[in-house]
């Protein structure tokens, strides 16, 4: 992955989040406070603006900047979580304008670790983690099986989408949805849904 592709990914994520903003907000109205689409949209629009203004010349720096921008602009639960994930991803990457597939996989692992550390969510808690974990597993499995970035990203996107769908049956144990108790069952998690959009964006730009 080079700087241009990383930028394309984040642009595509911004586009997807904007296009699906209403849906994310609707999902969040059902079991949260109805702002997830607005939050993600505000954040990714700011990321694109920040990167356009002063494009970093290293992939790692680009993700660190993107993460920092999310932290500075989003607020709520999703801002620090996605922001920390992207910062950790960026920090884990080796310097330079291009990174290998294995390094990217490691970076994504660091990103998930940051989410887990900050939010303390386990798989099954009905959060971002429930799309991110299976996506990363599929990504790593594809890489281990010899896939290229396009193949790994496609596998990750599929797994993330399945993971997001699977949250419908879960009772939330983290975030606002947890206050609803059993009433959180039967609704897809907004954060897991936005995670699936982001992995789909990666698949789209690499396909």
């Amino acid at each position: 992955m080079d700087v241009a592709l990383a930028l394309a990914w984040l642009r595509a994520s911004a586009g997807a989040v904007a296009a699906e903003s209403d849906r994310l907000t609707r999902l969040d109205s059902a079991i949260g406070d109805g702002d997830h689409g607005v939050n993600m949209n505000r954040g990714f629009a700011a990321v694109v603006a920040a990167l356009d203004a002063t494009p970093p010349d290293a992939v790692g720096a680009l993700f660190v900047k993107a993460g920092g921008t999310l932290i500075s602009k989003v607020g709520g639960a999703s801002g620090p979580l996605y922001g920390s994930a992207l910062r950790a991803l960026g920090k884990a990457l080796p310097p330079g304008p291009e990174v290998e597939l294995a390094a990217l996989a490691g970076g994504l692992e660091a990103g998930l670790e940051a989410v887990r550390k900050l939010g303390g969510a386990e798989p099954g808690d009905k959060t971002i983690v429930d799309a991110y974990r299976p996506a990363l597993d599929a990504f790593e499995e594809a890489v281990a099986g010899g896939a290229d970035l396009a193949g790994a990203a496609a596998a990750a996107a599929r797994a993330a989408d399945e993971g997001a769908r699977a949250t419908t049956a879960m009772q939330a144990r983290k975030g606002r949805a947890s206050y609803l108790g059993e009433r959180s069952i039967g609704h897809q998690d907004p954060g897991a849904t936005s995670t699936a959009l982001i992995f789909k964006a990666l698949a789209d730009v690499t396909a």
Binding site: D33, S72, G75, G76
Partner: protein, 333 residues
């Protein structure tokens, strides 16, 4: 959605500008960094209190900035916690060298953003103590949840800890009394309707004409369950049962009671509710030392109300009575 706004995206910034214009002598509003501070901050040697959270809960928190209460407040977007940059900027702006207390309501977003801000402040050499408010006993099982939410007790924590800071309390003391107030508090809320966020443009949930949400928070999220509407006296009794079970009050204990409207409930109803509360507490031998009735910790235009009961010491009552001069709460000054 019908609201007195211009572009939904500008609501928070424009309301902030209005707040600044309305309180030119008492408040200093930094519109670009998005925080509200006491005009006389920083005060050298005084412990500063900073709070914040999503907008839409007014007068909380911006309306509680002033002498005897908060030194600064950071309003996020509607129902969205503020960002670390904002909190850091406010923390630096009001630090008088004696440290800063962050009053944080226990929501995932608030906790994380304040935590990141506290780390950044520590990096800059500012001593920060965090007081987490989690009084909402409608959230029952903490292993299955993000823990109890912070709601009405936030006002009491900010008032009482704010008074302690005003009279010269040290960082650890101010934080300690804030935590004691939180520990001694329990709240429970009902919603009759959902509020409408300007960005979403429609109510957070729909309720049939004869149903209410039981155990709601202050972000338009649905509650634990739906029930048929019942007379106020029954709702009050159920809420006080939950409150007094979670935080027992013994015969002869003194309490401060907050009957709080969620934004769309007329004062007429809130006073009626207070009458029921007074009756039930009297039956149980609880002495109400002080009480406050009004819309203080709101959820936009939600028709709803919350009850908060805080078991107080004489010291807490003394601090409650101390002068306060803010847009939203004022006495003795």
């Amino acid at each position: 959605m019908k609201k007195f706004i211009n572009d939904p995206a500008d609501v928070v910034a424009e309301a902030l500008a209005g707040l600044a214009a309305a309180h030119p002598d008492d408040l200093r509003v930094d519109v670009s960094e998005q925080y509200i501070a006491r005009a006389d901050a920083p005060r050298g040697g005084k412990v500063a209190l900073v709070s914040g959270g999503g907008s839409g809960h007014e007068p909380l928190h911006g309306g509680f900035v002033g002498t005897g209460m908060l030194d600064a407040a950071c309003p996020g977007e509607v129902f969205t916690s503020p960002v670390p940059d904002q909190i850091l900027a406010a923390t630096k702006a009001v630090d008088g060298g004696a440290g800063v207390v962050h009053v944080v309501k226990n929501y995932t977003g608030d906790v994380m953003n304040f935590q990141l801000a506290a780390e950044l402040a520590a990096d800059e050499g500012i001593a920060v103590e965090t007081v987490l408010v989690d009084d909402d006993v409608a959230v029952e099982n903490s292993t299955w949840t993000a823990g109890r939410r912070g709601t009405g007790a936030t006002l009491l924590v900010e008032k009482i800890a704010g008074a302690r800071a005003e009279e010269g309390g040290k960082l650890a003391e101010v934080a300690a009394i804030g935590r004691e107030v939180n520990t001694a508090s329990a709240s429970f809320a009902y919603a009759l309707t959902a509020g409408t966020t300007p960005a979403a443009g429609r109510p957070g949930f729909d309720l049939p004409e004869d149903e209410i949400e039981v155990g709601v928070g202050i972000h338009g999220e649905p509650g634990r369950r739906r029930e048929k509407l019942r007379p106020a006296r029954e709702l009050v009794r159920s809420a006080l049962d939950a409150i007094l079970e979670a935080k027992p009050v013994n015969d002869g204990d003194q309490v401060i009671v907050l009957v709080n409207g969620l934004g769309g409930t007329p004062l007429l109803e809130l006073y009626l509710v207070y009458g029921e509360v007074a009756t039930v507490l009297a039956e149980r031998g609880v002495r109400v030392a002080r009480r406050l009735v009004g819309n203080y910790v709101t959820s936009l235009d939600m028709a709803g109300m919350s009850l908060t009961v805080t078991r107080v010491t004489d010291e807490m009552i003394r601090l409650w009575d101390a002068p306060v001069r803010t847009p939203g709460l004022r006495w003795g000054a």
